[in-house]
């Protein structure tokens, strides 16, 4: 909470890096890592993510097993147990459901250093429909022992995650998107009055909540590109009506950064989680459990409906339908604050 804007790179939203898909950032980072680290193996499952990629001298460490997610996870466990560092590539839906038992017993329980690169997280599959959605994956992975769970909010954070976990001794679940998303903003948005400046976008550190913005009344906790951007914009919106809202980017769901969460929620009347996931068991669950253990706070858990009605459509269409856009988020926060004014919290 002591960094200042002076440390920020001199980027503005206009000149910042163009939107990029976290899955593509991951792919490029992996190619770099494979060139540097001879332990790294890329196991593919006919995803097409590496079509045309140049593995150079690492070419024999790229193995496409075909459409065989279970085998890929178990084989990765065997490779990891033998000293290799396999990255298994599949969609989040298949990593967290189709192949779950292999992930559970042979990767998580066994504590093997397998990296699961899970694309199409949340409703990123959009138009591809419900069988390709991963709205339960964070709850599932959070229940597994040993699993480090990272949801990068932009391409730079994805690269940082790949780099920083190179020597992680246990497994990693890396939830990635599909279509390009903008980088997190690095300077105050020009038109809105801000109680505090946004934080500089230093690459996040795995295991540490990234404080994007301080705020007194409300604390947003988000993960992933769309939720974090929506929380930032909602905080701006609220600032316009005199509500001071902080924004935490909780990119690492496990191990969870209890200390930073508690420090920032200490004075808040409301803690609002925003996630591209069902409301049960994911980020909202992690925050609710952590707070209940130590310092219970009223919460608003914003995510996708618990009912069957997630629907199908483009990613943005679904997010909007479920109120994961800035305006409805801000509106819900206002209502919650009004119905439980600070003094009663």
């Amino acid at each position: 909470m002591t960094e200042t804007i002076a440390e920020a790179p001199s980027l503005s939203p206009d000149t910042a890096a163009a939107p990029a898909a976290t899955r593509n950032a991951y792919r490029d980072a992996l190619l770099t890592l494979m060139a540097a680290d001879p332990r790294v193996v890329c196991l593919d499952t006919d995803t097409g993510l590496f079509s045309g990629a140049d593995f150079g001298a690492a070419a024999e460490r790229y193995i496409d097993l075909g459409i065989a997610e279970h085998t890929a996870m178990d084989a990765a466990a065997g490779l990891a147990a033998s000293g290799w560092r396999p990255f298994v590539n599949t969609m989040a839906a298949f990593a967290s459901a189709r192949a779950l038992e292999a992930v559970k017993i042979n990767i998580a329980y066994a504590g093997q250093p397998v990296r699961i690169a899970a694309t199409h997280g949340g409703v990123a599959a959009g138009h591809l429909g419900a069988t390709h959605y991963a709205l339960e994956d964070l709850a599932v992975m959070r229940a597994l022992p040993n699993m480090t769970i990272v949801v990068p909010a932009d391409a730079a954070a994805t690269v940082a995650a790949v780099e920083q976990t190179a020597d992680l001794p246990g497994p990693l679940y890396l939830r990635l998107g599909r279509k390009p998303t903008p980088p997190l903003p690095t300077l105050p948005l020009p038109t809105l009055p801000l109680p505090t400046l946004p934080r500089p976008a230093e690459p996040p550190r795995i295991g540490r909540i990234q404080v994007l913005r301080d705020g007194a009344d409300v604390v947003f906790v988000g993960c992933g590109p769309h939720p974090v951007l929506a929380a930032l914009a909602a905080a701006d919106d609220l600032a316009g009506t005199g509500i001071s809202a902080g924004v935490l980017n909780a990119h690492t769901l496990a191990p969870f950064d209890t200390g930073t969460l508690l420090a920032h929620c200490a004075g808040a009347a409301l803690v609002v989680t925003v996630e591209e996931h069902r409301r049960a068991g994911g980020l909202g669950g992690a925050v609710a459990e952590t707070l209940a253990d130590q310092a219970p706070r009223r919460m608003l858990r914003i995510g996708l409906g618990d009912g069957p009605a997630v629907g199908a459509g483009s990613q943005d269409y679904i997010l909007e339908r479920h109120g994961l856009h800035p305006a409805p988020i801000a509106a819900r926060v206002r209502t919650a604050i009004e119905s439980h004014p600070r003094s009663s919290a």
Partner: protein, 319 residues
């Protein structure tokens, strides 16, 4: 959007129907989301024969409890299914133009809430087991309802397919029919280069199925085989249909790149032209006499032609 004159195929006019379905598929791939072009085109003739010559289905009452069940296990062939359902009268042909639009129920993979779609698919390796469940249901009910499933060939790399293959044979589910779209390609390349399936017929036989092979674009051959199941009482049937991914669009057919395409205006026109010349060459196909065309397709369904206005082919981009 140009609405062309309606066409009414007679029993011998299935080639025309398939031509129109291919047209729809190509048109939908020129929309904003693009689509799974190749794997849709490879199953058009199979779907045409099934829906116009084999399946006992009822567009007027899609949930008719006596209907045969169909499962598109390779759910990414959705475009071909939508177009077939439209031509068969389950959907207004107009609705095909909504594919890829916000709020449309026509998504990249079929969803249950579309009339005629029995089950949502898209994750590979589930259709056979779902179809097996339908087959068990029919047996328990003492009904002669049948269950047809189209799987991809790459899809058969999923172990779940073989798990179910064994179960279905064990249960003597001879009311279950699988059709393998043996186009030789999966998402990134040839099946035999990634994880070979051959000798595929031997595999199925060793799992207790009755196996036949056919040219998956020869409607007469398909109708002859699929119209006469079970081939061996007590055994489920699998037809290995030799197909071409992207069939009908010469500059894409058989190329891995046709898996997913967002056709530019120019490409769309070219694909349409390719289809047209292809169609002229395939006019001699017709159903053999005696094929069970018990419910002729609805007349009067218009053929949609989408505007030629899209920017880019984005093959190579994984879905």
């Amino acid at each position: 959007m140009t609405v062309m004159a309606p066409a009414t195929p007679g029993p011998a006019g299935l080639a025309d129907v398939a031509d129109r379905i291919r047209g729809h598929v190509v048109d939908m791939c020129a929309g904003r989301e693009g689509g799974h072009l190749g794997g849709s085109l490879s199953i058009v003739d199979i779907l045409t024969v099934l829906y116009f010559g084999v399946l006992r289905v009822d567009p007027a009452w899609p949930e008719n409890p006596d209907r045969d069940m169909f499962v598109l296990s390779k759910g990414h062939g959705a475009l071909a299914l939508y177009a077939t359902l439209a031509e068969r009268g389950f959907l207004p042909v107009d609705e095909l133009a909504s594919y890829g639009q916000p709020g449309s129920r026509l998504m990249g993979h079929p969803m249950r809430d579309i009339p005629g779609v029995e089950v949502s698919t898209g994750s590979l390796g589930h259709g056979l087991s779902l179809g097996f469940g339908f087959a068990l249901a029919a047996r328990l009910a003492g009904s002669d309802r049948r269950s047809f499933v189209i799987t991809g060939d790459g899809e058969l790399q999923e172990g779940s397919c073989w798990e179910t293959a064994a179960c279905a044979a064990a249960q003597r589910a001879d009311n279950l029919v699988a059709i393998v779209d043996r186009n030789g390609l999966q998402l990134t390349g040839p099946t035999e280069g990634i994880s070979p399936l051959e000798p595929l017929a031997d595999r199925w036989r060793a799992f207790g199925w009755s196996v036949r092979e056919a040219d998956g674009h020869d409607q007469a051959a398909l109708a002859a085989e699929l119209g006469a199941t079970p081939w061996e009482p007590g055994r489920p049937s699998v037809l290995i249909a030799r197909t071409t991914k992207g069939h009908g669009v010469r500059f894409l057919a058989g190329k891995p790149v046709c898996h997913y395409a967002t056709l530019s205006e120019r490409q769309h026109a070219r694909a349409r032209a390719s289809l047209a010349s292809f169609q002229r060459g395939s006019r001699d196909q017709a159903l053999p006499a005696g094929t069970p065309l018990d419910r002729p397709p609805l007349a009067g369904t218009p053929l949609v032609e989408a505007p030629l206005s899209q920017p880019l082919l984005s093959p190579g981009e994984p879905a």
